[in-house]
Every structure is written in structure tokens, then in C-alpha cells.
Point group: C2
Chain length 224, copies 2
DNA sequence: TCCAAATCGATAAAAAAATATCGATACCGA
DNA sequence: TCGGTATCGATATTTTTTTATCGATTTGGA
């Protein structure tokens, strides 16, 4: 739960939906749409219209107008401001392997207000080189760089066996938020934000949905 | 919401937590632990013990024993069975760029019961080659391959501009579940399972947590 | 053998999130 | 100009999810 300026409270679920609205609204704006109703957004994004109105009311004081809806450009500005996409946050990445390099090359992060300053690895073939324009340093250099650049976010893209020790290193260096792509649960002290990018959980949900669909499609297979 | 054999109902949240339990229990088993209590699991995974017991009761009929807890090996078996990790599901991937190749090379999917059979792309430099041992075909070949191998899952790792058309192609080919890594919301017909791997949403949540932590750490900066 | 302690499983309560309802309002077309 | 209507925003309700409570039970040690 998070409070905004007015003391209104929003759920985590609301915050998680905001980037979705933003992307959708940017697309609409590019199409030349100037106003849009909560009904229309809800239909396209497969959400409930009341939920959309509540979510938008949380980040924006823009009033929706009957018969017209909301001004797209105003909404975009307010969501961007709320999500902090206007002021970029710096991050470091640990583990310049396949996934790490992919993230380093992902242009979309700019749009999300995230900037990966540097990467760290133990592989001597990588150290000293640049990947997508970003330097790769030896892991030992991490505390110095993090402190010098006053970086708050660490991205972990190492094998799970070493994820915990990397997390400890990051925390020791003063990192306050960890985006963990390793498939393991990290033990961290209080006061550190973590988000696990849990592909296994996603896959589990998808598989369950799929098995229900397959069951529904072919419900009479008892004798097969 | 999903029903199990006994008609007991589990939330999506429960299903999303199951892979976490599984990974944790496998680690414990490797350490030689034979029994574990819900209390201990909850503490390590930062969950509520009651929630852990409920989650486990949903997938497993294994009874926990007072003072001892649950038999680790039994739990592992039951969770694997529930998640379908025992019988591997085949998938195709569209978009053999950076992220696509990373996923193709990810060994962990085996553990999750997922097998990427083949990839598809429009880049003629990639077509006909193999990436991490898996063939890359021209996009036009997709319907034939999907139908011939009777594949149900499609993974989308293309730029967002073409994600919708790829989704349409997959659905047309008979795919029933889509794992979407493109940062866009797909319009799909009823009866198709989708899971959006939404990094922007994750990042939004992490950023909000971080800003609260920073606020708490330095609450008296008004005059700065 | 018996007692203390830890844990379970069931039920109840609380919290969080999603959805429904409804009067008010501003737009659009006749 | 005026009536019909889509939409809003506020409030109420329902549903879902999490957390608390508590008696019952089994183990391990005195």
C-alpha cells in the first residue's frame, strides 16, 4: 500500500497496472486519440472500468468528462510523474552473461526511467570490455563504483548458486533495492527493497491456465 | 482460482508461490534435510506460516506431523506433480534476438517442465542456423511446425510493434497459451491463456518500494 | 512413563482488492 | 433549445486473500 500526495491509498496491484496504462495511452496518443473513456481502456486492457477509474484517480487529478472521458496527454504526464519516469534512476548490473547482456541492451529501460551505469562480472574475458556501450568491471570494483556514483539499485543476473553472495555484496556496498533475476529467494536485511523476477511463477500460472483450457476443449476423453 | 482433485480451491497467488516452495525444498533436500515445518519455511521465505500450511495442503495430502513438520521428499513430489513438472510441455519461441536467445539457452526451463522445440524469426542471417542446439526457422514455417508437433505454448520475444501480428499468427496456428515478453497488451480471442512478463510493472513496484525506503532513511531533508 | 514444547489443521477474523450500484453531469444530435 | 445518453465519481457490496486464534496431537527428553 502506498499513499499519494492527497493521502489516498493505492494497492500494489494498482501500481503494477500503471505501466500498462501508460503504454496503452502512449499508443493511443500516437494514433491521434485525444480523449478516452475508462470504459474503452477497460475493454482493451481486459479490466473493469471502475477499477480503471480508481487507478487513474489515484495518480491523476485530471477530471474525466462525461461522454468524452479523460484527456490522454494529461493522463500520460501524470502517470509518468507518478512512476518517476521523468527523472532517471541509475543502477548497476551483476552478471554479464546472456540475460545480463540482454538487459544491458534493452532500450526500453530508458522509457521506464532506468539507466544501467555499469556491469560487474568475474569472467576475465569480459572485464574491461564494453557491452552495449556499458563498461564491465571486476566484481571487486563494485563497492567503490556504487558508493562513488551513489547508486541505489542493483540488478542480479547471476546463477542462483552465487546470487546470495552477490546480494550480500550489493547490500554491503549500500544498495537499497535489488531486482533479482536469479531463481532463488534472497535473504536480506530489513530496509532493502526486493523484486524477484520470477519466471517459474509466471510459467506455473500459464501452465495451469493452459491445462484448464485443454480440459475444457476436450472434456470427454475419459475412455480414450 | 483453480480446483484440485478434492475440489479444494486455490488462489492464483498460491499457484504463483508453489515454484518458490519447490526450489526451496529442493535446496533443503540437497542439504540433507528430511523434515521441515511450515514455521521454518515461512521464516526463510518471508511468508506467513498459516499461508504456507494452506498452500501445501492444497497440493499435497501429506500430513504434517507435530514437532517434525512435513516430509521434504513427499512435498517435492506432490508439488512437481501438481505443477506438471514431471511431463514436459513443448513450446515454440518467436523472435531469436537477444532475449529470445537467452531464453533458448536457459537450462532451468528443463526443471520447470518446459522445452523450447524451435524458434522462428524473420532475420535471414538466423534462419537455418541453430541457437543453443535449437533450430531457427523462417516465420512462415510456424503454422506447419506447430500443427505437426502439436505444440500448445508460444513464447513471444519480438519488438512490441510486431507482437500483435505474431500473436495472431500463433493463435491461427492453434496455439492455446502465450507467454508474452513484449511490453504490450495483446488482443486475443477467448480460450487462449496469456501471461505477460511485465518488466515495467516489476520495475514500478521496485521503484515505489525504493522511494519509500529512501524517504524513511532521510526524512528530514526539507531544507536541503 | 509422563510432561513440556512445537507444530498441525480447522475455523474465525481482518485486510485488501475487485466489482456493482446509482445519482449527477456534460456532451451530442435532433 | 432540449432530451437522451454515455460517462464520471462516490459509495456500497462482494469476493478474494491474508492473518490470527485455538484445541488436538505427536514427539523428545526428564
Amino acid at each position: 500500500m502506498v499513499e499519494n500526495d492527497q493521502g489516498v491509498v493505492a494497492s500494489k496491484a494498482t501500481i503494477a497496472r500503471l505501466p500498462g496504462y501508460l503504454g496503452y495511452l502512449r499508443d493511443k496518443q500516437a494514433e491521434g486519440v485525444e480523449n478516452i473513456s475508462s470504459t474503452a481502456i477497460a475493454e482493451d486492457l481486459r479490466l473493469n472500468a471502475v477499477q480503471v477509474r480508481k487507478d487513474l484517480a489515484f495518480v491523476s487529478s485530471v477530471a474525466g468528462r462525461p461522454k468524452l472521458g479523460f484527456a490522454v496527454s494529461d493522463l500520460i504526464l501524470d502517470i509518468e510523474r507518478f512512476l518517476g519516469y521523468d527523472n532517471v534512476t541509475d543502477a548497476v548490473l551483476v552478471g554479464a552473461g546472456g540475460l545480463g547482456r540482454t538487459l544491458m541492451g534493452y532500450e526500453g529501460f530508458k522509457t521506464y526511467g532506468l539507466n544501467i551505469e555499469a556491469a560487474f562480472d568475474v569472467d576475465s574475458d569480459l572485464i574491461g570490455r564494453r557491452v552495449h556501450g556499458k563498461p564491465v568491471f571486476a566484481l571487486e570494483k563494485l563497492p567503490g563504483v556504487v558508493k562513488r556514483l551513489n547508486i541505489h539499485i542493483g540488478i542480479i543476473t547471476v546463477p542462483k548458486q552465487v546470487a546470495q553472495s552477490v546480494a550480500d555484496l550489493l547490500v554491503g556496498a549500500g544498495i537499497k533495492a535489488i531486482w533479482n533475476f536469479a531463481p532463488t529467494h534472497l535473504q536480506l536485511p530489513e530496509g532493502i527493497a526486493v523484486k524477484n523476477e520470477d519466471m517459474a511463477a509466471s510459467l506455473a500460472l500459464l501452465s495451469k491456465k493452459l491445462s484448464e483450457i485443454l480440459k475444457a476443449d476436450a472434456p470427454h476423453q475419459k475412455g480414450a
